[in-house]
């Protein structure tokens, strides 16, 4: 395992490069390019903002449009990166069976290249929040920390799923199902205080901590931030240990199944 970590650290530039290639290639062939990654969550946010202020009224301390845009920007990053990265080891099979490099790099590519779209979407949320609330909080400077936490969480979840997916091909559907449930189990479209009886479950969801931390940075306050963060960090540390252990043990037999 120590060997694996050393290897991963030593050749980390490779991830950045693969991510850059992934990013450039993805947007080069689409005319509007990067605009799409930003436009889709934005559209989703706008629709949700309309539905939950005009059709169903959700009470939030913050202006709802800003509230939901910040949440959606974060959720889209988690959702998009995890669903792409969870199949990455199998998808990268052609490369992985020919060349040795730490397998952990494969699930790291999508989360890394998606950071750009994430930063832009989140910035739009922040601008809307500034316009609606006319308040700036010093915590805003900590927004990169929230993004880093999201990145880390996505990395550990994706890595684990990507390795499992090699051995069990139905894992991709499990991931889709989990993400579907997690969307409603994360305070994206509703504030945490409205969760009621379900609050413990929502709190235990590792995505909640990321969303709450992001809201705290933007709006200056968030419910049960400490508890949510503790859960997220706990999940991340445990999953990280599992990931390092399982890659250390299985990465050189995994390719026999690609």
């Amino acid at each position: 395992m120590r060997e694996l970590v050393a290897d991963v650290v030593r050749r980390r530039a490779l991830v950045a490069m693969l991510a850059r290639q992934d990013f450039a290639a993805r947007y080069r062939s689409a005319v509007l390019g990067l605009a799409w990654t930003v436009a889709l969550p934005l559209l989703q946010g706008v629709v949700l903002a309309i539905v939950f202020t005009r059709v169903v009224k959700v009470q939030t301390d913050e202006p709802y449009a800003a509230f939901v845009l910040v949440g959606i920007a974060t959720w889209s990053y988690l959702n998009g990166s995890i669903s792409t990265a969870s199949t990455s080891v199998v998808d990268g099979g052609a490369l992985a069976t020919k060349l040795y490099f730490p397998r952990l790099y494969l699930p790291a590519v999508a989360p890394t290249s998606n950071l750009v779209g994430y930063a832009i979407s989140l910035s739009i949320g922040v601008v809307v929040a500034l316009v609606q609330t006319r308040e700036v909080h010093p915590q805003l400077l900590l927004l990169p920390v929230a993004m880093a936490l999201a990145y880390l969480l996505v990395l550990v979840v994706s890595s684990l799923m990507a390795l499992l997916h090699v051995f069990f091909r139905d894992v991709r559907y499990v991931v889709t199902a989990l993400l579907l449930v997690a969307f409603y189990g994360t305070p994206v479209i509703y504030p945490l205080e409205l969760a009621g009886d379900l609050a413990p479950f929502v709190l235990a969801n590792p995505a909640t901590g990321v969303v709450q931390l992001t809201r705290w940075c933007v709006f200056g306050q968030a419910d049960s931030l400490g508890a949510a963060l503790a859960w997220t960090l706990g999940w991340t540390v445990v999953l990280l240990a599992v990931v390092l252990r399982s890659y250390g043990r299985h990465e050189r037999t995994a390719c026999d199944r690609l």
Binding site: R28, L95, R169
Partner: protein, 394 residues
């Protein structure tokens, strides 16, 4: 000299699962698995700077061996050690992104193969030069012809300057001129003291590049020694014959050029000369000699024997059969083997046969391909439009 590659008792077991690898099946214990040993008890030591060729039929374990050497896959049993940096010339172009330009792909691929950014920058011109695709450097590689694509990919791979180079069936890249260039470059790499492991079906290339050959059969080393021996054993295996059972004559065949010098390379249109020497254990009168030529893996392309009673002579211990054979070379590019057998006077009983003697035929570039030169002459409306036979033999 130190060993660059060391395998001791290496085996690789694959577990073949019937049914889809699904979580559900595992939970219901529905999937049954079957084991397959792709390699078993392989002992192999390659010295630093040595070049070896690995041959064997499909499924004999060549790919598994390369995968383990490249570190992608771990052995199930035994010990495997590779010293130094490894660059696999395996599946050239792997990791190339179709949407990216040639220039961008060179950078990414170089890094994937283990070069630093500075090294890629330093060797960039040499790589581009080698690939001969300068004009298309800023075109996405998806618009490349397959030849251009492979040339660029090979150029990157061959410039990585590793200590151990693994080569898998990649030298069949591009046109003849480019292949020669690749070969030349491989020789430079060889001269620099790089350890090279070549896996290929191109036996002619192997014969030119690797002094040592390893034949794999069903995952085990069936032969390890001078490349001629490996090639000969491979020919025997492909023809499904086991040499050396219950023979009373031991036949040796030497291949000679027009000046009587030993060679294994012949040109279409020339003559393939054989010198046959057979030691016989028992008294043998009026033997019948049989000669068979086979393109690799295709069985006999030509077989002939001397007429029964056409030769009257008595041989025995200390009085070997000495014969000379001249074959008109109508064969086309490829690797062939010739086997000579000694029969009794009736031709009904084979007393012994030589190991297949491997040789290679090269034709002039262009014109016909296949096994045999039938010298086609084609005329349309009474006018000769193509005369490949005459051109070739001129």
């Amino acid at each position: 000299m130190a060993a660059a590659i060391e395998l001791a008792g290496v085996g690789k077991r694959y577990v073949l699962q019937s049914g889809e690898p699904l979580l559900l099946n595992r939970l219901r214990r529905r999937s049954t698995s079957e084991e397959l040993w792709a390699l078993r008890d392989v002992d192999l030591t390659v010295e630093e700077g040595e070049t070896i060729g690995v041959i064997g039929r499909n499924g004999s374990g060549k790919t598994t061996l390369l995968r383990m050497l490249s570190g992608v896959s771990a052995p199930t049993t035994g010990r495997l050690r590779v010293v130094g940096t490894i660059a696999p010339l395996i599946g050239v172009g792997v990791g190339f992104h179709p949407e990216m330009t040639g220039r961008e792909n060179v950078h990414v691929n170089g890094r994937l193969l283990g070069l630093t950014a500075a090294e890629v920058a330093r060797d960039f011109d040499a790589i581009v030069d080698f690939s001969e695709i300068e004009k298309f450097l800023d075109t996405p590689v998806k618009y490349y012809s397959s030849g251009m694509f492979l040339r660029l990919a090979f150029a990157v791979a061959i410039h990585t300057n590793p200590q151990v180079l693994l080569v898998d069936e990649v030298l069949a890249v591009g046109d003849l001129a480019f292949q020669l260039k690749c070969m030349e470059r491989m020789r430079e790499v060889q001269a620099r003291g790089t350890t090279i492991v070549i896996v290929t079906h191109n036996l002619q290339m192997l014969d030119r590049m690797a002094p040592r050959g390893v034949l794999l059969r069903s995952g085990q080393v069936a032969f390890d020694g001078p490349v001629e021996g490996a090639l000969s054993a491979y020919h025997s295996a492909m023809e499904g014959r086991a040499p050396g059972d219950d023979t009373t004559a031991r036949v040796r065949v030497e291949l000679l050029d027009d000046d009587g010098q030993p060679t294994r390379h012949f040109a279409t249109g020339g003559t393939v000369r054989l010198r046959v020497h057979a030691d016989v254990d028992d008294e043998l009168a009026s033997p019948v000699l049989g000669v068979m030529v086979a393109p690799l893996g295709l069985g006999a392309a030509y077989a002939v024997h001397t007429g029964i009673g056409a030769y009257a002579g008595v041989h025995g211990p200390g009085r070997p059969v000495e014969a000379e054979v001249e074959l008109t070379n109508r064969m086309l590019d490829g690797s062939y083997s010739v086997t000579v057998a000694v029969h009794d006077a009736t031709g009904g009983r084979q007393l012994g046969a030589s190991e297949p003697a491997v040789f290679y035929v090269s034709s002039e570039a262009g014109g016909a391909y296949g096994v045999v030169d039938l010298s086609a002459r084609i005329s349309i409306d009474g006018r000769t439009v193509s005369d490949p036979g005459r051109q070739r033999l001129r």
